[in-house]
């Protein structure tokens, strides 16, 4: 049911005549039928928690082993322990891998559903989204022209009023009359000059009958004209290129990039 003001607005806009009905209360609050995919997060958490139980026994067993390992070996001091620790890390990683595989398995239908919804809606909405961009492009052309004309008119008006003010001032000086007319013309010229320097958004703004507003929005963008002239603080290091330059580097080799120190960090790798 449309409110009184909505009905008047639609009638004023002449929309009844082309078969449109006024929107009712809550018309913009989403799908009235409810979404197709119903997910109760509490139920999901409950069920996933139940399914994760199958990994719990092994996790507890491994954590108990970690505690025993830490207690018996504050640091590793022999090949024998190092060897066993290798297998231990493989066991810990195997558990993590198993749980990760389980996560992917449980999430796959959700991902597929998400992709299906996204693709379908994107395809369905593409033509209208493009049409909106096309209309906006035409509107931008018009808004630019409108702002330019308004600025030119204001500038011409300011010039004309300044000349008029000067003329009145001269006339007052020669004939001994009042300066009021000259002052008023000068003030009007200042106002016109101010209008000429107003932001493009202000000069191009239009208000639609249905409440929409369109105006030029100025966004600052940039493009690189001379890379060498850019101060260093605006540049980022190309990590991939640096890594490539350091590939195969050995501690006694010369440093390949001035300002970058390559060094070796050792960390055990378990396969």
């Amino acid at each position: 049911m449309a409110t009184k003001s909505q009905t008047r607005l639609m009638a004023d806009a002449g929309l009844y005549g082309i078969g449109l009905t006024p929107p009712g209360v809550g018309h913009n609050s989403g799908e009235p039928e409810g979404t197709l995919i119903q997910l109760d997060i509490d139920v999901l958490n409950l069920e996933l928690g139940r399914r994760l139980e199958r990994h719990e026994a092994r996790r507890d067993e491994l954590l108990a082993a970690v505690a025993r390992f830490d207690k018996a070996n504050p640091a590793i001091r022999s090949d024998d322990v190092q060897q066993r620790a290798t297998d231990f890390v493989r066991q810990l990683r195997a558990w993590s891998r198993e749980v990760e595989e389980h996560r992917k398995f449980e999430k796959l239908p959700v991902l597929n559903a998400q992709r299906a919804v996204d693709n379908l809606f994107a395809d369905f909405a593409a033509s209208i989204a493009k049409a909106a961009l096309d209309v906006e492009a035409k509107m931008t052309g018009y808004a630019r022209q409108k702002a330019r004309l308004a600025r030119e008119q204001a500038e011409a008006e300011a010039t004309r009023l300044r000349a008029e003010a000067a003329e009145r001032e001269r006339a007052a000086a020669t004939r001994g009359g009042s300066l009021d007319g000259a002052i008023a013309a000068s003030q009007a010229a200042d106002q016109a000059a101010q209008r000429a320097t107003a932001p493009a958004a202000e000069l191009s703004r239009v208000h639609s009958d249905l409440g929409g507003v369109a105006s030029l929005r100025a966004t600052v963008r940039h493009r690189v004209m001379n890379f060498d002239a850019i101060p260093r603080r605006y540049l980022a290091l190309d990590d991939a290129a640096v890594k490539l330059a350091g590939k195969g580097w050995r501690p006694n080799d010369p440093q390949p990039i001035p300002g970058v120190e390559f060094f070796v960090e050792e960390k055990v790798a378990v396969r």
Binding site: L62, A65, R68, A72, R84, D87, F88, Q91, A94, W95
Partner: protein, 110 residues
Amino acid sequence: MRWNQSRVIDRPEPGFFRLRFARGGPWMPARIIFAADLWGAEINGRPAGLPHRDPHMAPGVMRVWQGGRRINAEDYAYLLTLLEYAQDHPAHPMADPCSRIDVSRLPPVF
């Protein structure tokens, strides 16, 4: 002790070895024997076949020589002991030498 594993591939030498029956499977003890002018091999502590004067004709010798990794007598004895233990413990990887070891199915190492 770390053995030099390089070898002339068609000229076997006697010694102690370990080898795998499957990719990712457990290391199993093996040995090449040369005695009384006869070549022979033991795999898993058992003779691989009848000894022969030609090492290429002696069962198991070339398999151990080409597929095994040299170890010392101490490690060989250790693997034999482990093998004995695995015979009484079916969950031990050496009880199923033809399968890849699944560490997630084994009790924690520590």
